[in-house]
């Protein structure tokens, strides 16, 4: 306290170097360390759990934060005794295809709503926004009838077709912001030079909007990778499940929780999206700003 009062009383140049370093620790480094411990500890806990033998898992007489005799048995049973590899394949297929469908639809819709003047454009924009009012929680029961009618239970198509209902509104909304930030004159001059509107869109607007499309694609991929409710309801066969559903259901038998496999599965299911974001975190932030500030 005394230091803080003293430094405020003086001119900035007079503050002893030690005090300034101390101030930076208090204001920046220590809070950042706390932030990192809070956000990362559960992942550390998953990791140590996966290497503990059953006896060590349930022994809290010694510090549970470290592993004393690491074992790979949980990892082995995750990859060889469960359907985890199959769930990974399912999740990947669903995420990629539903992202592709959603990007296709929302690039077209976003361009149309951001650029073209036609009757009902405003209403359509509102309509797409209003779909936020109808989250999966509200739709999953009636959707079971639709999916049954189409004979799509335990079929990846059930997820591939339903995920776009929440991906398209999000992507469209984000892309409208992006398209609006591209000057109209660019495509108008392309059209004066003889390009049709579709050509101008394909050759001028879409290349310029590529960062936005990439962000939208990342969002969509992550949202479908992480989706739980529809997959829980529509996929009952073990081989048809996605990672979130398979891991939460098949390593729990009654009251027995197989924490080693559970945590190994949880960690493996998190790695792809975590990697994706660590490479594109700046892209992600700029996508967020385009959507939030301009949208």
């Amino acid at each position: 306290m005394a230091t803080a009062v003293r430094t405020r009383g003086r001119a900035r140049g007079d503050v002893p170097l030690m005090d300034r370093a101390f101030g930076r620790w208090v204001r920046i480094y220590i809070p950042i360390l706390i932030l990192l411990v809070v956000t990362l500890f559960p992942f550390y806990w998953m990791l140590v759990t996966t290497f503990k033998s059953p006896s060590e898992l349930f022994d809290f007489n010694q510090s549970p934060l470290f592993v004393r005799q690491p074992t790979l048995e949980h990892w082995k049973s995750l990859f060889f005794d469960s359907n985890f590899p199959r769930w990974t394949l399912n999740t990947t297929i669903v995420a990629i295809v539903s992202t592709a469908i959603s990007l296709f639809c929302s690039v077209l819709a976003g361009y149309s709503l951001a650029r073209l003047r036609f009757k009902g454009a405003g209403a359509m924009g509102w309509g797409i926004f209003v779909t936020y009012l109808v989250p999966p929680t509200l739709l999953f029961l009636p959707l079971t009838f639709v999916i049954r009618g189409l004979h799509l239970f335990n079929n990846l198509l059930a997820l591939i077709l339903t995920y776009p209902t929440f991906l398209i509104p999000f992507c469209t909304w984000l892309l409208i912001g992006y398209f609006k930030s591209i000057p109209r004159e660019l495509e108008e001059s392309a059209m004066v030079d003889g390009a049709t509107r579709l050509q101008a869109m394909w050759r001028v607007v879409i290349p310029l909007a590529l960062p936005g499309i990439l962000s939208a694609g990342m969002f969509a991929f992550t949202l479908s990778w992480n989706e739980f409710l529809y997959a829980l309801i529509f996929m009952n066969d073990s081989v048809a499940k996605t990672i979130p559903v398979g891991v939460t259901q098949e390593f729990i038998h009654g009251d027995d929780f197989f924490w080693g496999q559970l945590m190994a599965g949880a960690l493996m299911g998190s790695v792809p999206v975590a990697l994706l974001y660590s490479f594109f975190v700046d892209q992600f932030v700029s996508g967020l700003t385009a959507g939030a500030v301009k949208g």
């Binding site: 920046i28 950042i32 932030l35 990192l36 809070v38 956000t39 559960p42 992942f43 806990w45 349930f58 809290f60 549970p64 934060l65 639809c105 077209l108 819709a109 361009y111 149309s112 073209l116 003047r117 036609f118 936020y132 109808v134 989250p135 999966p136 929680t137 509200l138 739709l139 999953f140 029961l141 009636p142 009838f145 639709v146 209902t165 398209i168 469209t172 004066v192 030079d193 003889g194 509107r197 992480n226 739980f228 409710l229 990672i243 979130p244 891991v247 939460t248 945590m263 949880a266 960690l267 299911g269 998190s270 975190v281 992600f284 932030v285 700029s286 700003t289 959507g291 939030a292 500030v293």
Partner: protein, 310 residues
């Protein structure tokens, strides 16, 4: 080269071009919306309307039932105790976590807006809880709150914060709800933080310089420059986050699934409980339909504030 000669008669050409554009603009505008509208009608609008009908019916797992008027709603609001509890839990869960997510997110954004080493790493690491599949991180928390082997309790006991053995998190309604809120806040605040950070970085620095010249304190700079400039970002983030929290299924389903004694359900998990394991699709649909007017009020309120003319 060719374009130059073409441009040499601008008045005639551009007039024709404009008319052609306007003519085709309408057709193209509709055509580009076709795929989106198709998907949204079949898998969103139709199920929504069908869900409204289901809520007024006696539908069960395999048969579509018949029209029974408002009987499902009457049952929910007068007989079904866990429903009323779920309704109030949903409000409490959304309200409390939103306050904490907003506060922690603001703190995180102000912190990360300063200059420090390994910025990219810190930002990516802090965002991690929001990115990875919610049910998977919730599983880790379930293990951390385990009745007998809770590492949270182990740490709290060793730091002498609580006496041995510490709270039985899922043993009473209060602590179970607290656990739900902790996990939801942990998962959600990084999104607030990163969005607000993005908003902070769009504020022109000269505003602060001008304020400093005029002698404004740090606190006054925050309330008179930072907060007003953040308004659009804050409202979008709040809107999205409140809707998603209000309709949250994943955290409550995996962490407590109502335990103890159906006292920690939220609307989403209670609708699932009736509709899927219970097989009473009509009742389940009625529970989830209750979400709709509540969400609509929430969104309308936010929009009224967003659209306030500047």
């Amino acid at each position: 080269m060719a374009t130059l000669t073409e441009r040499s008669t601008p008045s005639v050409r551009s007039q024709g071009l404009h008319r052609r554009l306007l003519d085709s603009e309408r057709g193209l505008g509709y055509a580009l919306l076709v795929p989106t509208v198709l998907i949204l009608v079949v898998f969103l609008a139709y199920p929504f309307v069908f869900g409204l009908w289901l809520s007024l019916s006696s539908a069960e797992l395999t048969n579509a039932g018949r029209f029974i008027g408002l009987a499902n709603f009457k049952f929910e609001f007068t007989v079904d105790r866990p429903f009323l509890q779920a309704l109030s839990n949903t409000f409490l869960y959304t309200g409390v976590t939103t306050v904490f997510k907003l506060g922690l997110g603001m703190g995180m954004a102000l912190l990360l807006n300063q200059a420090f080493p390994f910025q990219r790493f810190v930002r990516a690491a802090a965002l991690l809880p929001w990115i990875i599949p919610t049910v998977l991180s919730t599983l880790a928390w379930k293990w951390m709150f385990d009745p007998t082997f809770s590492v949270v309790n182990w740490a709290a006991v060793h730091l002498h914060l609580v006496g041995y053995p510490g709270p039985n998190w899922f043993g009473s309604t209060g602590t179970a709800l607290a656990a739900l809120m902790i996990v939801n806040t942990w998962r959600g605040f990084p999104f607030y933080g990163v969005s607000i950070l993005a908003g902070l970085q769009t504020i022109p620095q000269d505003l602060y310089e001008a304020a400093r010249v005029d002698g404004a304190s740090r606190f006054n700079q925050f309330t008179h420059i930072t907060l007003p400039m953040l308004r659009p970002v804050l409202l979008v983030v709040l809107l999205l986050s409140t809707i998603l929290t209000f309709a949250d299924f994943q955290v409550p389903f995996v962490l407590t699934n109502g335990a103890p004694f159906n006292s920690t359900h939220v609307l989403a998990t209670w609708a699932y409980q009736w509709g899927v394991p219970g097989g009473a699709i009509g009742l389940g649909a009625a529970v989830s339909v209750v979400l709709f007017p509540l969400l609509a009020i929430l969104v309308a309120a936010t929009l009224i504030v967003v659209r306030r003319p500047d």
